[in-house]
């Protein structure tokens, strides 16, 4: 009952925020000054904590890095399953369930990825993407401390993710599911490892972007919004924008 109340409250907030900017392709700023300040804080945190950890992680032997990446990706798939269902995408649902089942068993707790070898490559889905697939626009854009860029829709989605994600259910909420349980330390450890793995994979890209941007905040905002747009559509196409130039 409490969950339903919280969801209702969240939906009202989401509706108000998204009504301000219903456009699908661009997001206005919610509070740019504050977001820029948080962005600076996040960049400092990245310099001090995340980047050194990512550099260290990149020095690990390749099989360990790959195994860790596979393990966190496999756990991340648990959130895709309810979202595939909510999107009515049954083909993706089958891919997600199949991939998780095979990798968790044959792939030894997800450290190996035999599912990919038999052609199972499910897309990662979250609540923000599900709402986007319902036609809900991003709403305004802002930056969260530590977590980074988001929008009204995706920020709300992030919150609902923790209720929908079976992994969060057994760790963060310490509930039992199929005789499995954990604690919040497990949850945050996996999330932190996912972040380090992502940062390590993109070490060169971040460096290049930092070096070649006139306004890094705006570049990352653009990249975040493009990425979310592509993930919602599960494709990429910007032909119309170039078409306008030739008119």
């Amino acid at each position: 009952m409490q969950l339903v109340k919280k969801l209702k409250k969240g939906l009202i907030i989401l509706s108000v925020l998204t009504l301000i900017t219903p456009a699908v392709y661009s997001a206005e700023e919610c509070f740019e000054g504050t977001s820029r300040a948080i962005f600076k804080f996040n960049m400092a945190l990245d310099d001090i904590v995340l980047e050194p950890l990512a550099k260290g992680y990149n020095k690990l032997p390749s099989p360990i890095k790959q195994g860790t990446s596979n393990f966190t990706s496999n756990i991340g798939l648990l959130l895709s399953i309810p979202n595939n269902l909510l999107q009515g995408n049954f083909q993706e649902l089958g891919q997600s369930i199949g991939s998780f089942a095979i990798n968790s068993t044959v792939g030894i707790l997800g450290f190996f990825n035999p599912a990919e070898k038999i052609g199972l490559k499910p897309h990662k889905e979250d609540v923000g993407q599900t709402l986007g697939s319902y036609g809900i626009g991003p709403g305004c854009y802002f930056v969260l401390p530590v977590l980074g860029p988001t929008t009204a829709r995706d920020g709300f989605g992030l919150l609902v993710d923790t209720y929908l994600d079976p992994f969060a259910h057994i760790t963060l909420r310490e509930k039992e599911l199929f005789s499995t349980s954990g604690n919040s330390l497990d949850y945050y450890s996996v999330k932190a490892t996912t972040a380090i793995d992502f940062r390590a994979d993109n070490e060169k890209n971040f460096e290049s972007l930092e070096k070649n941007s006139i306004d890094l905040y705006s570049s990352l905002k653009s990249i975040y919004l493009q990425d979310r747009e592509n993930k919602i559509k599960n494709s990429f196409d910007d032909s119309d924008e170039w078409g306008n130039l030739d008119k």
Binding site: N58, S62, D201, E203, K204, N205, E207, S208, K211, N212, S213, I214, D215, Y217, S218, S219, K221, S222, I223, L225, Q226, D227, N230, F236, D238, S239, E241, W242, L245, D246
Partner: protein, 198 residues
């Protein structure tokens, strides 16, 4: 003697130009161009200035820098006067060449492979490729938006790295700078010039 000198200079110019002439088929064009750039950037016999000069030359000949500049300026290209646009184009070209050389140098040790091409219209073909970093990092998918209005002279207009358009990122970056400076194109030009002088 003077004639021989002119002849020799013409011969050198002819061959240096013909060496940089790539196929007109978009897929082969991208393949030849990128592999040429990678091989030059990783050539230990060339110094940094020689590499930079080479990259700038092939970019000027094979990238539609003018169109890219106009695209990244967004709607302001319609309301700005000719002189401002011209000044912007000059600054943008210098900015683009500097950032391109820097970006390419970062990926010069990677293996490049063209996968296929997708003709979107008579004006555009998307060439799909992948880059495998030599440090064992994950494979990067890169799509090249090739402008084919003149089929004899294809030009690159955009790079889409893992679904993220570099032109669009640039456009939105410039748009942010402009909107926080009353859409003053001079401020943007100054920022571009500052970057080039760095």
């Amino acid at each position: 003697m003077k004639r021989i000198g002119i002849y020799l200079v013409s011969l050198v110019l002819f061959f240096s130009n013909s060496l940089l002439a790539y196929s007109t088929n978009p897929k082969d064009f991208v393949n030849e161009l990128v592999n040429d750039a990678i091989s030059k950037l990783s050539d230990k016999n060339l110094n940094e200035d020689q590499k930079k000069t080479f990259i700038e030359k092939i970019a000027l000949e094979n990238v539609d820098i003018n169109a890219l500049g106009l695209y990244t300026l967004g709607e302001l290209r319609k309301s700005s006067n000719e002189e401002s646009i011209l000044n912007y184009q000059k600054s943008f070209e210098k900015y683009f060449l500097k950032s391109l050389t820097s970006r390419l140098s970062d990926y010069s040790s990677s293996k490049f492979e063209v996968i296929e091409e997708d003709k979107k219209s008579s004006n555009y073909t998307i060439v799909q490729s992948k880059v495998t970093p030599s440090d064992g990092g994950p494979e990067i998918k890169i799509d090249w938006r090739v402008y084919t209005k003149n089929p004899d002279k294809p030009l690159i207009r955009d790079l889409i790295v893992e679904g993220l358009s570099l032109a669009r990122t640039q456009k939105e970056e410039f748009s942010s700078i402009l909107s926080s400076n009353n859409n003053d194109i001079k401020i943007l030009i100054n920022k571009l010039d500052e970057f080039t002088k760095k």
